[in-house]
């Protein structure tokens, strides 16, 4: 008899196999498709271009227990002074007890699992629509084994003032959770969402998260993502965005911590006159590894996209930025701008930057810039000549550099919170 050695993937799948989902055949079918896909996929190696700068050993060599619903005190995770509907997801399960929101007629808001039990038109239309055929193992894992998350749909022509704050928490040690959100902004709507990814103590928790966004015609959707997982926790997050005509989508990503963070942001701009803003800030310390991969796919003419990602890297941390802008043949008169700036504060820190342009239309203005360096000596000197200590001047400059990246956050109190957080992290 021959013994077959289990691959890393097999072990991973075995850990997930106890998960049972009581869903109707439609959703079960989707999960089965993903499972079939998984059979052909494997974890990326150093040879996989898409994962060139990120080694996944830490994640795939660990043994996990499946995340369970939990109850904790969330006061620490609330954003001070922020008036928002609060939704809590723990270890991939929605927690109705901890959530605190008021029902509004124009917004359908439930857990994803509850939404699947009711026959929402929007759900079947948009769920899993843009995450197929991506051939990404972590996406397929989530497609096949996601537990729960938030389903939020804003009705036509409604502008929702009060933002939604989702708190996505991991608890325990070696917990594997796979949360999943679906956000739908129907024609002419407007909504702002904040999602914080945090943890309570515990080590080596891995959250493989997916959010899908459907941004219909004339819709404004702002998504603010705060990643602040301490104590050697891992996250891989995928955002899949689909934009229709005249829509405006803004995402602000602030990563303050993370032993291994990988963000895959895919935006499909499939109609004219759209605006897309992608902003990010990553602050690396100790042995943090923060990897941001973004794709903006311009398929139709007259669209604008702006992308600014900034990193401050200290100690032995690594920052990775890989931004890709596609301009398809039909997407004439596209303006696409992409920028990545890094500051290295230590000789053991690493910045890897790969801003890419792939352009098939001629009447476009596309540019990108990438810099890696230090704070301008002359600027420091100028501040010193005004009586500010060198240390103070440096702090001022680095703070300004970092804060600049997230200028587009439109929620005042969130902005203040993030600015304070930046100062705290950099001090």
């Amino acid at each position: 008899m021959t013994t077959v050695e289990l691959t890393k993937k097999d072990t991973f799948l075995a850990a997930l196999s106890p998960l049972q989902f009581n869903e109707d055949s439609y959703f079960e079918g989707l999960r089965n498709n993903a499972k079939n896909e998984l059979a052909e996929l494997d974890f990326p190696t150093s040879k996989t271009e898409y994962w060139k700068y990120t080694r996944l050993g830490k994640i795939v060599n660990n043994t996990y227990t499946l995340g369970q619903p939990d109850k904790i005190d969330i006061t620490n995770f609330l954003i001070p002074n922020l008036e928002a509907h609060v939704l809590v997801v723990i270890n991939g399960y929605y927690s109705p007890e901890l959530s605190n929101f008021t029902e509004i007629d124009s917004v359908t808001l439930t857990s994803l699992s509850a939404a699947k039990k009711r026959d929402f038109e929007g759900l079947k239309k948009h769920f899993n629509q843009f995450t197929q055929d991506k051939k990404e193992i972590f996406l397929a894992l989530n497609n096949a084994f996601h537990t729960d998350g938030i389903y939020l749909e804003v009705a036509k022509s409604n502008s929702v003032e009060k933002p939604y704050h989702i708190i996505n928490i991991s608890t325990g040690n070696n917990t594997l959770s796979q949360s999943r959100n679906l956000f739908i902004g129907n024609v002419g709507s407007k909504v702002k969402i904040i999602e914080s990814f945090v943890n309570v103590g515990g080590e080596k928790n891995f959250n493989n998260h997916v959010s899908e966004f459907f941004v219909a015609e004339n819709t404004h959707l702002e998504y603010n993502k705060i990643q602040d997982k301490k104590e050697n926790n891992f996250s891989i997050a995928t955002e899949q965005v689909y934009q229709e005509a005249n829509s405006n989508f803004t995402i602000n990503t602030a990563t303050f911590n993370g032993a291994l963070v990988r963000n895959n942001l895919n935006i499909e701009v499939d109609a004219s006159n759209c605006e897309t803003n992608l902003n990010g800030l990553y602050l690396g310390k100790n042995k943090d590894h923060i990897d941001n991969h973004t794709v903006v796919d311009h398929k139709k003419p007259h669209c604008n996209s702006n992308e600014v990602y900034r990193g401050v890297l200290d100690d032995e941390s690594t920052g990775v930025f890989n931004g890709k802008v596609f301009v398809r043949q039909d997407a004439q008169i596209t303006n696409a701008f992409q920028q990545n700036n890094n500051i290295l504060l230590s000789d053991n820190a690493t910045a890897n930057s790969k801003p890419e342009l792939e352009i098939y239309a001629d009447d476009v203005k596309c540019s990108h810039g990438s810099t890696t360096g230090q704070i301008d000596e002359e600027a420091i000197f100028y501040l010193q000549s005004r009586g500010i200590s060198k240390k103070g001047a440096l702090k001022l400059m680095i703070n300004a550099f970092a804060k600049d990246a997230l200028e587009r956050i439109s929620i005042e109190t969130l902005h203040e919170y993030i600015d304070a957080k930046i100062e705290e992290e950099l001090s």
Partner: protein, 480 residues
């Protein structure tokens, strides 16, 4: 009649390959196929010493284990490496007196506008002419000898200066570096060798001219330039091939070694047959070019790429010594169905190392033009500095321009700037010129000129003229 961008596009569309003639020269050609025997045979034909054969065999064995790279942004049918002939030499290989050279060959050189003896006084360029795989004639050898400069074909160097060749070959591009480099290391037939002794400033431009003539052959030449301490050399390389329906393979290696305080300037005008308007035929240009800079040394690559159906080429600098400098200036033009994936690698290892990258891509027709570059600052490379600028110009809505830069910094004192733009000639730019009294034709020329000048200016005078001629329409017109 006003000359508009559309006219220019028309002109571009019909630009035919000027160097597409074939020469009827009898040749000594090996039957197609590649195995160890062939490697032995090539080595025997060249009467090579044992160590050279060993080198080839090692490379061949490494090559057998490798797979063709597929990461580049180019598409082409798989090459059948067993269908190629790995050695082709003109039969009447002279012990070369100019009078003995096959008149057909002379005519070829004339057509190519290459200066040999008659024109040497005029042009002042020493030329090594590589026809198919074999070096045919090297001019000016005597005069260079007086200064101690060795400039000869690679096979001659193996015979006459084995110690130098043995010391430096494969030190920059190891045999197992990549698929095509390994293939070249196994079967390279000839090429050029150049050695500049300590403290000598080479008084003239050294030049190699490559030409593929035979059908179904691969051309595998090798260039090795060694600039000893404190020396300087400017080296030129030009290439053409006849128009054929089949694709031809060109897989060369260029190794540059700049020892302490030396400077090498390497310029290429690459005009291999790009295939016809339908994208049929053309040369596959898969070249490995790399230089190493020791202390205070400088290597400067300048390239004008107009030819080849598929180009896959990244002239690189390893900045090993402190204070060394690497430069890369490139204009790449693609038209019809050409595909280019080209760029550079700057590896900063030493302290205070500097690199500059200026890349100008122009795509027209159905072509795809990619810049792919790597800037790597290693941990000990304090105060390293890099500036990169890559601009792409698109002419027509069927072509593509792409940028894939890799920027890796591991030192906190590194300063890296990268900038890239993609656009077409702006209506507003033309309008601005118009309202200053410059007509559209001149305006386009002006913009195009300005676009490429930064790179063309880096070419040695003699070459700049040729390059400009070569880019006549495709550059002056389209680019901007």
């Amino acid at each position: 009649m006003a000359y508009t961008e559309d006219d220019l596009k028309e002109e571009l569309k019909d630009k035919e390959y000027k160097y597409g003639f074939t020469s009827n020269i009898e040749s000594d050609k090996l039957p197609p196929g590649l195995n160890e025997e062939v490697v032995h045979l090539i080595s025997a034909k060249k009467n090579e010493p044992e160590w050279m054969l060993e080198y080839r065999l090692n490379a061949f064995r490494a090559w057998q284990k490798m797979v063709e790279p597929e990461w580049a942004h180019v598409r082409y049918p798989k090459i059948d490496f067993q269908a190629l002939s790995y050695y082709s030499a003109p039969k009447k290989k002279g012990d070369v007196k100019w009078e003995d050279i096959d008149p057909e060959m002379k005519a070829t050189m004339d057509k190519l506008g290459i200066s040999m003896d008659e024109q040497k006084a005029l042009s002042g360029v020493a030329v090594d002419f590589v026809f198919d795989s074999v070096s045919v004639k090297t001019s000016f050898q005597e005069k260079l000898k007086e200064l101690g400069i060795i400039f000869c074909s690679f096979s001659e160097a193996v015979q006459n200066h084995p110690e130098l060749v043995k010391k430096y070959i494969g030190t920059v591009v190891p045999t197992s570096d990549n698929f095509y480099a390994a293939l070249n290391s196994a079967v390279f037939s000839d090429g050029s060798f150049c050695y500049i002794p300590k403290g000598v400033r080479c008084p003239m431009e050294l030049s190699t001219y490559f030409r593929i003539n035979e059908a179904n052959t691969g051309q595998f030449e090798r260039t090795l330039v060694v600039a000893d301490e404190g020396s300087y050399v400017s080296y030129l390389e030009g290439c053409t091939a006849p128009s054929r329906d089949e694709n031809q393979l060109h897989a060369a290696i260029v190794e540059l070694i700049a020892l302490d305080n030396a400077e090498i300037k390497y310029s290429t005008v690459q005009n291999w047959f790009p295939g016809d308007k339908e994208g049929k035929g053309g040369v596959y240009n898969f070249v490995t070019k790399r230089g190493i800079c020791h202390k205070n040394a400088k290597i400067s690559w300048t390239q004008v790429e107009t030819g080849s159906a598929v180009t896959w080429k990244y002239p690189s600098c390893i900045l090993k010594g402190d204070n060394s400098i690497g430069e890369f200036y490139s204009v790449a033009v693609t038209n019809h169905y050409q595909q280019a994936d080209t760029g550079t690698k700057m590896i900063h290892l030493g302290k205070n190392t500097k690199s500059t990258i200026i890349s100008k891509g122009i795509s027209a027709g159905h072509s795809n033009n990619s810049y792919r570059g790597l800037v790597q600052i290693h941990k000990n490379a304090s105060n390293a500095r890099n500036f990169t600028q890559c601009d792409s110009l698109l002419m027509g809505d069927q072509c593509g321009a792409h940028t894939f830069p890799y920027i890796e910094a591991k030192n906190s004192t590194a300063k890296i700037e990268h900038e890239a733009t993609t656009s077409k000639i702006g209506e507003d730019q033309i309008f601005y010129c118009n309202q200053r009294g410059i007509d559209t034709e001149k305006a386009i020329n002006l913009i195009v000129n300005g676009y490429a000048k930064e790179v063309l200016n880096k070419l040695p005078m003699e070459f700049a003229v040729e390059a400009q001629k070569l880019l006549e329409i495709s550059l002056e017109g389209s680019v901007g």
